[in-house]
């Protein structure tokens, strides 16, 4: 992913994201546009997230297939597990196109259930 800010870490987007790094095991986080995949901000080490458009495409694909299959309601989160990381993508619904909060969590340092709860809580804080 691209690093967006050159100077000034007081940027409100990065400030709102950086709190998520305080949760145990979270090593990186990014705020992404759910439709375009544009990366609004990222903090920590996001290399394991891939790029924003892939994440948005994946989430869209899951949403489309689920609604086509008749699932009611919107997708809340998408979790991809690799050997070393959990990659947790929370959908942040809003008036307007949704945002995604994507986090990389070190599997060795936390369990999945805890990480999902922690990032969901943080997701609510970003736009609440």
């Amino acid at each position: 992913m691209l690093s967006q800010s050159e100077g000034g870490q007081s940027h409100p987007l990065e400030a709102s994201l950086s709190g998520v790094l305080d949760y145990p095991g979270v090593i990186g986080a990014a705020l992404i546009d759910a439709v375009t995949g544009l990366v609004y901000a990222e903090v920590g080490d996001c290399r394991a997230l891939g790029n924003g458009t892939e994440l948005a495409d994946l989430t869209n694909l899951v949403t489309d297939r689920l609604t086509e299959a008749g699932a009611a309601g919107e997708v809340e989160s998408v979790v991809v597990n690799s050997r070393r990381y959990h990659q947790i993508t929370q959908v942040l619904p809003r008036r307007g196109d949704d945002f995604l909060l994507a986090t990389v969590v070190d599997r060795a340092e936390t369990n999945l259930a805890l990480a999902i709860r922690a990032t969901a809580e943080h997701a609510r804080n970003v736009l609440a």
């Binding site: 691209l2 967006q4 800010s5 050159e6 100077g7 000034g8 940027h11 409100p12 987007l13 400030a15 709102s16 994201l17 705020l31 546009d33 439709v35 375009t36 544009l38 609004y40 901000a41 458009t53 869209n60 949403t63 489309d64 609604t67 086509e68 008749g70 919107e74 809003r94 008036r95 307007g96 196109d97 945002f99 970003v126 736009l127 609440a128």
Partner: protein, 327 residues
């Protein structure tokens, strides 16, 4: 530090932006063309793009009903004394700072993409143009902006085909889309698509970015939810009562038709001295938005306008207007 950008004569807007980035330029690049637009820079970074081709942050906030119109007006008034509009919107609790920042950043990329779909006839670098109220801070590096724009054009042209055609296509819903099983975004697009709206018009009506709307349209087209063929230009337009995206109310029901009259057959007296609009240069001035009309070159138009039929005499006589007043 190089000499001023204009002296170098960069060959296109992206090259110009690179130069201005190196010079840490603060000001505006006013691009003329169809439709043209203005890129605002601060310290060489692009902080805002304003163009008729894509919605600005205020349109996104209001049309999506993220902020209600009375609240918006109140914030505008408060910001006159309380400081920048963005801070006021956040202080009043109308939008959270991260969301507003993201939105402003999105419009920079969306505006650049939208302008690249049109044709630019030239540009002017002007450091006296003030930046708009809502900007993306700290701004976007020109390289990232042009890379992302190129990527977006590639993605869409792979999904849809030629983008100039796509941008001009009036979108119609497919015959009977199964609306029930669709994501809300698609449903809203289908509600807004009335055969008159091009993607840009849908973006404004829905309060969404142009690129995300086109991306959704391309995906919807693949699922045969929308018709992608441009309708023929002629013929009366379908009259329906669509959702009013500003107020949420539906259009007022048509009342009994008022009488019609064919101008020229009756001399009206209620427009005293209204001059022909095409006569410029009179001293009269009505305040208009600050748009530099004279600087815009004539649009190189691909299609010629249809020539007016010589006579439509039969029209109103064959079909006399209801309740027509005759002298």
């Amino acid at each position: 530090m190089n000499s001023p950008a204009v002296a170098h004569g960069p060959r296109n807007v992206p090259a110009l932006l690179m130069t201005l980035h190196r010079e840490r330029f603060t000001g505006a690049v006013v691009v003329s063309g169809t439709p043209g637009g203005t890129l605002h820079l601060r310290d060489g970074l692009v902080v805002a793009v304003r163009t008729p081709a894509s919605p600005a942050p205020d349109v996104l906030l209001l049309r999506s009903r993220r902020i209600a119109e009375p609240d918006w007006i109140a914030a505008g008034e408060a910001s006159r004394t309380d400081g920048p509009l963005a801070d006021t919107l956040v202080a009043l609790g109308l939008v959270r700072a991260p969301e507003l920042s993201a939105l402003c950043l999105a419009t920079v990329f969306d505006g650049a993409f939208a302008m690249s779909l049109g044709t630019s006839a030239g540009w002017q670098v002007d450091d006296s143009v003030p930046a708009p109220d809502l900007i993306a801070e700290p701004g976007v590096e020109p390289r990232r902006l042009t890379d992302e724009t190129a990527r977006r054009m590639l993605v869409l042209s792979q999904l849809w085909g030629p983008l100039v055609d796509f941008a001009a296509t009036r979108i119609n819903p497919a015959a009977q889309p199964a609306v029930g099983t669709l994501p809300v975004r698609y449903r809203d697009i289908l509600l807004g698509a009335n055969g008159r709206r091009a993607p840009r018009d849908l973006a404004f009506a829905l309060g969404r970015g142009l690129y995300p709307v086109m991306l959704d349209l391309a995906r919807m087209s693949a699922r045969r939810l929308v018709q992608r063929d441009a309708p023929a230009g002629a013929g009366p337009t379908p009259i329906v009562a669509p959702r009013d995206f500003t107020t949420g109310a539906s259009a007022p029901p048509p009342q009994a038709p008022l009488p019609r009259r064919n101008p020229g057959t009756h001399a009206p007296d209620s427009v005293p001295g209204a001059p022909p609009a095409e006569v410029p240069g009179s001293a009269g001035r009505i305040p208009t938005p600050p748009v530099d009309i004279g600087a815009r070159p004539a649009a190189p138009s691909g299609d010629t306008p249809p020539s007016a039929p010589p006579c439509v005499e039969h029209d109103l006589r064959d079909h006399p207007a209801q309740g027509e007043i005759t002298p």
